[in-house]
């Protein structure tokens, strides 16, 4: 940050330089020891096709919705009690009573619970929209099939979050919806009855069911989703973003901005196969 001045620097300039040095010091410290700053920069400033549009932000939107669920969920867990025992003070089940407490008594509890409850639907809807975009843009095709599979697993995990989270308020709707949901699993051929008994934690729905749904809902599946999202993002970064199907650039009709040969849809970094860069069909110099 050493700037050479032709004249003597003013106090403001000196202060500005000191400020920059103070800000950069911890960033440089971190970069030197981890390379993380460069990694984040690579992630944020990597090349994407020039003709992408807002549709390509649906994945990030779904990720944001998941983060909202994770954060609000952690806060809710501070107040929620997964117990079916009757609260002697109110005569209501403890789990239901703790939800009522969050909604009615805890400051802003209604807001956080509302965000978690409605955010659950937002998360699922955004995942479906994202999936629709990927399907309609053909972004699931080679070499991105694996990322489609990972995405489907995330979607399934999200639906399981919805199923297990629905029981937690422990009201009549939650209870009977879970009874029906578990018994639907029970009608699956051969292993269904075993799956249903595992979900119930025994032959009857009860306290075991609530605690295990809570554990699955807030520990098991979120951990799996975080791992799958990490893999999903890694593949996005590795394989690049796809151009829309109407992209002239990807079709080789217009040169890319940097003057290089046009890329196949979204493949910002050519992946080597047989020693050659993969070229799109119909692209100049592509496979005949």
């Amino acid at each position: 940050m050493a700037t050479t001045y032709k004249r003597k620097p003013t106090k403001a300039e000196i202060r500005r330089e000191q400020m920059e040095a103070a800000v950069m010091y911890p960033i440089d410290w971190l970069e030197e020891r981890s390379g993380l700053v460069g990694g984040v920069k690579y992630f944020l400033f990597r090349n994407v096709p020039s003709d992408i549009n807002w549709m390509q932000t649906l994945g990030s939107a779904a990720l944001t919705a998941f983060l909202v669920q994770a954060i609000t969920g952690v806060i809710l867990a501070m107040y929620y009690t997964p117990s079916v025992q009757t609260d002697p003070a109110t005569g209501q089940p403890v789990a239901w009573e703790s939800i009522r407490h969050i909604t009615d008594d805890v400051t802003m509890g209604w807001l956080v619970r509302g965000m978690h409850k409605w955010g659950a639907s937002v998360f699922i809807i955004l995942m479906f929209l994202h999936m629709g975009r990927v399907f309609l843009f053909g972004a699931y095709k080679y070499p991105r099939e694996l990322n489609w599979i990972v995405g489907v697993l995330i979607l399934v995990m999200g639906l399981m979050e919805g199923f297990t989270g629905y029981l937690l308020p422990w009201d009549q709707t939650a209870y009977w919806a879970s009874v029906v949901g578990i018994n639907l699993n029970g009608t699956a051929p051969f292993l269904g009855p075993w799956l249903a008994q595992f979900l119930r934690g025994g032959q009857e729905i009860g306290g075991e069911t609530l605690t295990r749904f809570y554990s699955i809902h807030m520990l098991l599946i979120p951990g799996a989703i975080i791992g799958l999202i990490t893999l999903h993002l890694y593949l996005v970064i590795r394989l690049g973003v796809t151009s829309p199907p109407w992209s002239k650039e990807a079709a080789g009709m217009e040169p890319a901005e940097d003057g290089h040969a046009p890329l196949r849809p979204g493949l910002t970094r050519p992946v080597t196969r047989n020693g050659n860069g993969i070229a799109a069909q119909g692209e100049p110099g592509g496979q005949k």
């Binding site: 079916v84 009757t86 051969f190 269904g192 009855p193 075993w194 595992f198």
Partner: protein, 334 residues
Amino acid sequence: MQPEQPSPENQHEEAHLPSPSVYPIGFAIGIVVILVGLVINPELISSIGAVIALVFGFLWARDATRDLRGEPVAVEPERREMVEAGAGETAPPADQQGVALPVVPETAVTRSHFLEGATIGLGAVIGGLITVPVAGFALLPSFLGQKQHKVDLGPVDKFPIGSWFIATFIVDPAQGEVSRRAAFVRNNGSVTDPSTKKQVPSFTIISNRCTHVGCPTQANGPQGPTLGKPTIKEHTANGPAEFVPVIPAGYGCPCHGSQFDTEGNRTAGPAVRALDRYGFEINHGRLVLLSTYSVSHVVGTGGQAQIYKYKSTGPGQHVDGPEAWFYPLQPPHH
């Protein structure tokens, strides 16, 4: 280009570490003695441990700082013999700048291969040791030790012959209200047991759990206050139980509309079989419910009814016909 001969300096490429010292081990023993002493005898044993740790700590610190205090460091002399390039070695590949590679028989287990295998193998063993109990803990309790709960419904006198009641009762007192279940109960009076030719009491006790996906079926017909008959409340061995008088014209499920007749036969809707029934026994004049069993259909009514019984199965599962082939094995339950 003349191949560069490996010089003694190149072969001796270890970092300049201090020579091996026994003092850290002594120090560690001292710490262990302190900790053991804290359990056994804090004053005596721990003091001894403290002395050991202090002495060895001091010696260790002296040893480690000898370099800084200007004393010469005793470095073990290099003992390896210099090897003539080419002796007992393969010809150096062209891209290795003439550095000869030792001959390794293809069948030999090299050090790195051994360590690789040991790491993966040990990792697998440790992983297995952790996974097996954890997976067992996660899965088995749902299936093992499932207890049969007998439910005391109180004296049989309160059930007039031919009258229906909606009984609600707690199955497992340890679980409390969450284990409250409901059944439709009718006293059929005495019937002749076909095998023993003796007069035995007969009850029709139908579980209200819908055989579609397990919602609570409701009795269709006037009940309780509408009938002008009082609800019987009793405190039985299982906790509070309630008996609401009812004149049912069958049972209907509020969730998906399945309908059943008064004997529990399915008459409409998505349910797959008749309603389950409770086994029962009369114990010292009290009605005691046993486990439920599944029923495909019932012919006749009351004490003369012919019940097609099956082992208890979950809602939505067929007990007869080809669809039952999909559910050959039920998990252990009562």
